[in-house]
């Protein structure tokens, strides 16, 4: 009997497919998310839009909040550690968190190196904007990916850009001749063996969710149509007027992402979604997606 194998860590993410993972900041929100049909919750001290508003350094959540959420629900609980912060990650692992997000939403602890995620028993999810970044994270041991988008903006444009980019690059690799893959690996900054594996499988070897800007049921369905395996919703739900209703609508739109009549029905009278931010109004240093190397 062995724990922490690739099969066990990646398999956990496979079980989340077709589902919605919701950001929560306390037990009450976690229960609303579970009741709405979330496949997991992300325990945070603040949702991304509040992190943006607060400024300063964003760190791992207070373990008290993580503990409270762990006790409140039976679905898996994820939590975020800063990029490269070995101790935050180990603390979350020791607390029994089910998945760690090495996340650009928090202020990076290391501007050169990510965590060596193979060292851990707990699985990791990491952000990516293109196949090079995705492959480097998998190479370091990430068991799940999510495209980054631009967190806390309620603006889907960056999420669309990233999922399209990653999937287009995967298709390119799958269609390439094996002779060409070493040069492609060099150009992408991706491990060569991973490109061989992607070509063999015809897809990424791990589950890839979409994140960063999903604010409506239609946004969630859009991500699914563009080939995401599932959706992370951060500020979108608990910054809306009626979180419980909103959460249920997002879950259903994600399951039935091609049923437009249904999406029309469940988008009615949802109240005001979170206020969005136009990306060009964000200063380059305020863009979380630029974090990660």
């Amino acid at each position: 009997m062995i724990t922490g194998t690739d099969l066990v860590k990646r398999g956990m993410a496979e079980m989340q497919k077709g589902g919605v993972i919701m950001d929560v900041v306390n037990a009450e929100q976690a229960k609303i998310a579970e009741e709405a049909g979330a496949v997991a919750v992300m325990a945070l001290e603040r949702v991304p839009s509040d992190i943006r508003a607060a400024g300063g350094v964003a760190r791992m959540a207070d373990p008290r909040i993580v503990e409270e959420v762990l006790k409140a629900v039976t679905i898996p609980v994820m939590a975020k550690a800063r990029i490269g912060h070995i101790v935050e990650a180990r603390v979350l692992e020791a607390m029994g968190v089910d998945y760690i997000d090495e996340s650009e939403v928090l202020t990076p602890a290391d501007e050169e190196f990510h965590l060596n995620k193979k060292d851990y028993t707990v699985p990791f999810v990491c952000g990516c904007r293109d196949l090079g970044e995705a492959a480097r994270r998998i190479g370091e041991g990430a068991s799940m990916l999510r495209t980054k988008g631009e967190p806390g903006t309620g603006n889907i444009v960056e999420a669309v850009r990233h999922i399209r980019k990653v999937n287009a690059q995967v298709r390119k690799v799958v269609g390439m001749h094996e002779d060409e893959l070493m040069t492609e690996a060099k150009l992408l900054g991706a491990p060569y063996e991973l490109l061989l594996e992607i070509k063999r499988l015809g897809r990424l070897p791990v589950v890839n969710f979409a994140a960063g800007g999903v604010a409506t049921p239609a946004d969630a369905a859009l991500m699914m149509q563009l080939g995401a395996d599932g959706v992370f919703v951060g500020s979108g739900i608990f910054k809306s007027e009626n979180p419980a209703k909103f959460a249920r609508a997002i879950v259903e739109a994600t399951t039935h992402f091609q049923d437009y009549k249904l999406i029309a029905e469940l988008s009615k009278d949802l109240g005001t979604p979170m206020k969005g931010i136009e990306i060009s109004s964000l200063a380059p240093e305020a863009r979380m997606q630029e974090r990660g190397w």
Partner: protein, 196 residues
Amino acid sequence: MVKIGVLALQGAVREHMKSLEACDVEAIAVKRKEELQDLDGLILPGGESTAMRRLIDKYDFMDALKEFAHAGKPMFGTCAGLILLAKDLVGYSEPHIGVMDIKVERNSFGRQVDSFEANLAIKDVTASFPAVFIRAPHIVEAGENVEILAKHNDRIVAAREGQFLGCSFHPELTEDHRLTAYFTQMVKEAKAKHFV
């Protein structure tokens, strides 16, 4: 050729479809209750049972699933699917589909860091099966007509009761299709019996 559906509301649907195709049967992803009608058997995949249950209720699947069971058609639940099949759940007053005479405890091996791989002997299937347990449930009690197929550390992790097959682990995550083949055989036998 027999047609076997995979309940496709959430979870490891693609893997089960692949496994069924490897066993040379027609695999159908079921998102609507109407799609259950012309199936000979159904797999309830791994995923999050609470999320699946909400979608089952929302789309009014529950009665159709119970009818499917009452028609004598074989059903195979893996992990979350096992939880959906059980008549009794530890800590809950109501079951989900509730057709298999077993009592199941959720997340009974611990959290994700305790998830593991182990080799299992499965009766009538193989002496060594690579089983992947992820936040897995186990069968605490089995009724008298339930045949126990596998145990891990004295806990029941696979069982059959007539048309129902259930396991705690994820056969769909490996390339070993023998347990799926065992189920497809159950479906073929049930279909043959139905036509006689």
